[in-house]
Amino acid sequence: MRLRYLTLVAVVFFSAFPLYYSVVVASRHNSALAQVPPPLLPGGNFFANVSRVFDTVPFGLALLNSVLVAGSISVAVMFLSTLAGFAFAKLRFRGRNALLLVTVATMTVPAQLGIIPLYLLMVKLEWTGTMYALVVPALVNAFGVFFMTQFLSRALPGELLEAGRVDGCTTWGLFWHVVLPVARPAAAVLGMLTFMSAWNDYFWPLVVLTPDNPTVQVALSTLASGYVNDYVLGLAGTAVGTLPLVLVFALFGRQIIGGIMQGAVKG
């Protein structure tokens, strides 16, 4: 019993310590890192380092880009996944099961397989270097549709829909007045998961964007890839670029975890 708590406390420590230590380094001066023993408490240099981040890369623009990209992707994914999930879960139409099967099957295909044609497509559309290249391909995804299909087929009673039909609702009316209110909690979890993964997405933005119009992650990687190793600079940027998300997670962690665990059992 005591061993169990000790182990779990160790887990909390190992999860949190690297994040804590990054703040320690980010709030110090580069020269402090050479000390033995290394500093283990935050120093007073944090804001000076952060302002150095803003001088080195267009970090304000990066924050704005990331907020816009992750925000619009989340809203679109929530809405379009609920829409498609409703049809897959509760409406009858020809080819429904086959389509759902294809959707689920492609979730297992590595996304990187298509990265080169996707890039060529962006070149053709002249979207490279713009946020369209990030937003448009991400407006909806197979996981979101599957997630909402699972939730709605469980949480949306057929009687509710039939009652709506008897009252003269069209399908669109049903969606608007019956489905959306029921779907709200799951859609919120999906939105948070989507926002986090869009905010953290690195590889695709690195491929299609340029350093002068970056997202937060691309700007961070520019910071980290200087020819001189400036850990303080890199970690100060990391602290500013990660903090908003950690805040969101601290506020909604419970629901997010619930969503992940529910999806796991069904998946």
């Binding site: 169990r4 182990t7 779990l8 887990v11 909390v12 999860s15 949190a16 690297p18 380094v25 890192l33 050479a34 379009l80 996944s81 829409l83 498609a84 409703f86 049809a87 409406l91 139409f93 429904r96 492609t106 590595p110 990187q112 397989l113 298509g114 990265i115 080169i116 044609p117 996707l118 497509l121 391909p137 909806v140 995804n141 069209t170 399908t171 669109w172 953290n200 690195y202 690195l206 491929v207 992650q217 961070l220 980290a224 890839s225 020819y227 190793n229 850990y231 890199g234 970690l235 990391t238 670029g241 990660t242 998300l245 950690v246 975890i257 992940i260 665990m261 529910q262 796991a264 059992v265």
Partner: protein, 318 residues
């Protein structure tokens, strides 16, 4: 009664509209998803195969058909096989200990426990941290001269390890980052599965005097086997595609620039990084596309083998 035919006509019209609504409108609901999905999901997958059969570079507008030549060159390319080795090595090093640890943590959490939410949130904390942040943070921790890890190791008399320089050490460093980010996430997935195991089984086992470890081996593991298979397959697919960690590791451990070569001696260039190097630093799209397909084949092969292995496994993993 002249209003009667009118009413019939109106009802008929409403009937047509109703039929349309019920029969056709479902397609409208899935259409946005399907259109975007085909354009940006399925089309690129299929098109990769087409590109891979051509001599296709960014510089020339003409793409000569070369058949399987790209594939033949690849199979004779030492750097390709080096990337295959690195991918498998980092994959095993990061996935195997991670899954054992995740099952054990889930087992510890699968009981009435105080601070349950705190434990769960901190398990998922690393997963919320972006890959870029993880690599920047751990590159500092794994630093040769002033890294915290070498400082701790020095208590035990170890000299300064240059983690990024060696093949084995860089694989360990990268695997640590991957494990840190994913162990808690997988533990929560296992925990979800464990909570669905009927309590009575454990009560009966406790009455029979079975220890916690025996219960884990004889009850929990067999009961959650579908989830284990699922997690093993998903983790394998993920491990075969590792790219951001090695890409950033060489940059932030002082090699300079974003490093597509995976270290000066390619000591940690993974398959996905190899594809990136061919496609986006050398702009040899045909060759890169062929490499993508071989990577996909490798994913299917390794994930398939792991699927069969985990399904066969009886009783304990531990």
């Amino acid at each position: 009664m002249s209003s009667l035919p009118l009413a019939v006509a109106r009802r008929h019209r409403r009937g047509v509209r109703h039929t349309l609504d019920v029969r056709v409108s479902p397609y409208a609901y899935v259409a946005p998803f399907l259109l975007l999905f085909c354009a940006f999901g399925l089309f690129p997958l299929a098109y990769t195969a087409w590109v891979s059969l051509h001599d296709w570079t960014l510089l020339s507008d003409e793409h000569a058909f070369v058949g399987a030549a790209n594939y033949a060159t690849l199979l004779a390319d030492g750097y390709f096989w080096n990337a295959v080795f690195n991918t498998l090595s980092i994959g095993v090093l990061s996935t195997a200990p991670q899954l054992v640890l995740a099952i054990w943590l889930a087992h510890l959490l699968n009981r009435p426990l105080r601070f349950q939410t705190l434990f769960r949130v901190s398990l998922l904390l690393p997963n919320v941290t972006s890959v870029v942040a993880v690599v920047v943070i751990f590159s500092q921790l794994f630093g040769r001269d002033f890294g915290l890890i070498n400082w701790v190791l020095s208590w035990f008399g170890a000299g300064a390890v240059d983690w990024a320089a060696g093949t084995a050490t860089s694989h360990v460093a990268l695997s640590t980052m991957i494990m840190w980010r994913w162990t808690g996430y997988n533990a929560l997935i296992f925990l979800a599965a464990m909570q669905a195991v009927p309590r009575e089984l454990y009560e009966a086992a406790t009455l029979d005097g079975a220890s916690g470890f025996t219960q884990l081996r004889r009850i929990t593991l067999p009961m959650i086997r579908p989830t284990i298979v699922f997690v093993v397959v998903v983790s394998t697919i993920g491990a075969m595609q590792i790219i951001a960690e090695p890409l950033l590791f060489s940059a932030s451990s002082g090699a300079g620039g974003v490093g597509a070569s995976g270290g000066p001696d390619r000591q940690y260039q993974t398959l996905a990084l190899f594809v990136y190097e061919q496609g986006f630093t050398k702009f040899d799209f045909g060759y890169a596309a062929a490499a993508s397909w071989l990577m996909f084949a490798a994913v299917v092969l390794v994930a398939g083998v792991n699927y069969l292995l985990t399904r066969r496994m009886r009783g304990g993993l531990a």
